[in-house]
């Protein structure tokens, strides 16, 4: 079976623009949450967000792309560019059909579309931008990335709320296995305009806390919802053989396992899907629970959901048997960006032998039975990491990321 590896990362989040900044902040548990500055948020019940600051799209993208792109698409384009640079891929030197793009987003180009709705209803239909027809829709990031880099292989856009980032990685691996040697994959999201913000509040899971240090506390006894963020990550996934053949400078790790499952209809009384999804991903990777060195948790930060996730982890791994962490406490939950960012973080953990902490969380209820990495990073020889993501309404996905040994390159078959 083809083995799929990651050779490049482009990450951006509230606590770091670019992989280096993001990873430095994440290792230290430095968060990027604060009062939302895009508009006057004080009249809303939730006011804190993980907002990317200091990002001027004109520094990174051709000016002509700006009028036609939502902020989320700009992030996607920039992250994809960084990932390709990181992987030292020159798309022009590869066969166009041998490169695909698989992206996830949950929210579309919402700020852009809000502006166009406003123009339509205040100034009339003739003022709606020619760009609205694609700046809004969920496939825009895949399309724009493919155009910018001349990638003509199989491409797709998946929407599975906050599980999307992992589903994109899983589908990208499928695409590699089906014969496309290189796929740019991941997710980003942003909806921090007033309408997007109100809509997120309607989702009912946002933290109404006002202290950025205490507002999003996954697995904490005081957990009271999450702080939404923006950003995410794009990764370069490659067929391991193709990566070695082209002399990829760094193989960051292997996407060894993936599975997804959906919770039963509310009220059915059947068990949730998370446990079996995790078990399926481990089985897919051919690893036992005991071989997993760290779990990057979904970590919604609501007691009921944290308890359910802790239960699933306990059932699979045993009580306190594996370190668990949730770096998204520091970046905010970035919807489809979250899973992709966590895969990137897991790869960096493997590279540097360190598990980043869950910023802010102090006291985990004993009944959870998980060893949550808190306060500071923990040194660990991380060989295999499990990344978990859940989306509202019942989406569950899990990815197993494994260290890449130059030795195992011989096992390629």
């Amino acid at each position: 079976m083809t083995r799929t590896v990651v050779t490049g990362i482009g990450a951006l989040a509230a606590n770091g623009l670019g992989t280096q900044e993001y990873w430095a902040a994440t290792r230290e548990g430095r968060h990027g949450l604060g009062e939302l500055t895009r508009f006057d948020v004080r009249t809303y019940p939730a006011t804190l967000a993980g907002e990317i600051r200091g990002f001027d799209a004109a520094d990174h993208l051709p000016d002509r792309l700006l009028p036609q792109t939502d902020v989320s698409t700009r992030y996607a384009l920039v992250a994809a560019g960084w990932a390709l640079e990181d992987a030292k891929v020159d798309p022009a030197s590869l066969v166009d059909y041998d490169m695909g793009v698989v992206t996830a987003n949950a929210l579309g180009g919402f700020e852009f579309t809000h502006r166009e709705f406003h123009k339509l209803w205040t100034e009339g239909p003739q003022t709606v931008s020619v760009y609205e027809s694609f700046a809004w829709f969920y496939a825009v990031n895949a399309g724009q990335i493919s155009i910018r880099h001349g990638m003509r292989g199989p491409s797709s856009a998946l929407v599975t709320e906050q599980a999307g980032g992992l589903d994109a990685v899983g589908h990208a691996r499928r695409t590699v296995r089906r014969g496309t040697p290189l796929v740019v994959a991941g997710g980003v999201d942003s909806a921090l305009d007033p309408w997007g913000w109100a809509s997120q509040i309607a989702g009912g899971r946002l933290s109404t806390g006002t202290d950025p240090d205490r507002a999003y506390l996954p697995f904490d006894r005081d957990a009271g919802g999450y702080v939404p963020g923006e950003g995410g990550a794009l990764l370069v996934l490659e067929d391991a053989e193709a990566a070695l053949r082209r002399g990829a400078p760094d193989i960051l790790g292997e996407i060894a396992g993936y599975a997804s499952g959906f919770d039963p209809a509310p009220g059915s009384g059947r068990p949730p899907a998370l446990r079996r999804t995790i078990e399926a991903a481990l089985a897919d990777a051919g690893v036992t629970a005991g071989q997993v060195d760290v779990v990057f948790a979904d970590a919604v930060g609501l007691p009921e959901l944290d308890r359910a996730e802790a239960a699933a982890l306990r059932e699979v791994f045993g009580t306190g048997a594996v370190p668990v962490t949730a770096p998204k406490a520091a970046s905010g939950r970035t919807y489809a960006g979250g899973g992709a960012l966590d895969v990137a973080t897991a790869l960096l953990s493997i590279r540097d032998g360190v598990i980043p902490p869950t910023a802010g969380t102090h006291e985990v209820p004993a009944e959870y039975g998980i060893d949550l990495v808190r306060d500071r990073a923990r040194d660990a020889d991380v060989r295999t990491a499990l990344v978990v993501a859940r989306g509202l309404w019942g989406f569950n996905s899990a990815v197993v990321v494994r260290a890449w040994d130059a030795d195992t390159a011989n096992d390629l078959s």
Partner: protein
Amino acid sequence: MSRRVVITGIGVRAPGGRGTKEFWDLLTAGRTATRRISFFDPSPYRSQIAGEADFDPVWEGLSQREIRRMDRATQFAVVCAQEAVQDSGLDFAGIDPARIGVTLGSAVAAATSLEREYLVLSDSGRNWLVDSEEWLSPHMFDYLAPSVMPAEVAWKVGAEGPVSLVSNGCTSGLDAVGHALQLIQEGSADVIVAGATDTPITPIVVACFDAIKATTARNDEPETASRPFDRSRTGFVLAEGAAVFVLETLESARRRGAPIYAEVTGYGTRCNAYHMTGLKPDGREMAEAIRVAMNQARIDPTAVDYINAHGSGTKQNDRHETAAVKRALGDHAYRTPVSSIKSMVGHSLGAIGSVEIAACALAIKNGVVPPTANLHEADPECDLDYVPLTARERDVRTVLTVGSGFGGFQTAMVLQRPTGERE
């Protein structure tokens, strides 16, 4: 590696009729279902025509709570899913739910509800937003994050396996079924309820396509406004619709003796990496997608009995597509009937790929090729056999269906009568 995948159930809601039979009757009669927009006053808009479906959620059996909660596109999807499940005769209760998946396609998802809620929240545009939670629908997040659409379908049919929304613009309806095909082939699920839905007839979407002049402004002739391949065509007619299928393995369908509409034997997708809305005239990437799909199906171009075209009726699409078909099929392109059902039911964006798969499956089952309505004089650059005006009886064993969408997506799928069926 591959398990063989077949369609054993179909549910359709399209303009011009409720359900699969009325849909097929409309197509084979060559009747059109496009009309002046009645959902709102279209007079301020450049294009004032649409393929509207006469869809009544109460008549369809949805509860008041479901109707309040679900966007119109979700309602279409759920109704079609139930119908497909029933049509398949498959006992879903007897299958491990973890082995049942849902892949739903949609391009603009909950656009109708988004616009409705926007008008409430902004006081009809007078404010950016009304600063009061009282105005906020508890379902607003569902419209922002449309993954609720496949979730609703999953709850309805009892699916607990892989569930996702595939949103690739106007190829979503093909790609959702293609995605399901891959999941069953690789063994990630045994049964998938797959299809697509879009209900875009709402001012913001009409205005979007007005802006790029992709829709036709032939407002004085709504019934004959959708004219794929005709030299007088001036753009597509926006429409709504949905089609959902039950996909399972050939083996399981045969084991339970289920009637099979078609086997999905090939799926290929490529991007043009050229332009978000523009198409290169040479059709290179669509031709490649077609070749990939034919290779997977292990067929030569000569095996293709019918091509269901994207045929949107824009100037550039129909030429692009004609070039692509010729590039992929060579001389056989000239000997193969090609038709666009968008001439009759309009272009329901992400849904139409699935609606067209339904038409292909029915063409195989019934041995009839649907026509291209409103085609009186073909564009000289579109020189294939587009089956003008009248349906044609033909033994259809192998169908190629193609789609093309914003973002540069080009998708092709091959559907076949399974070997050993009806022979």
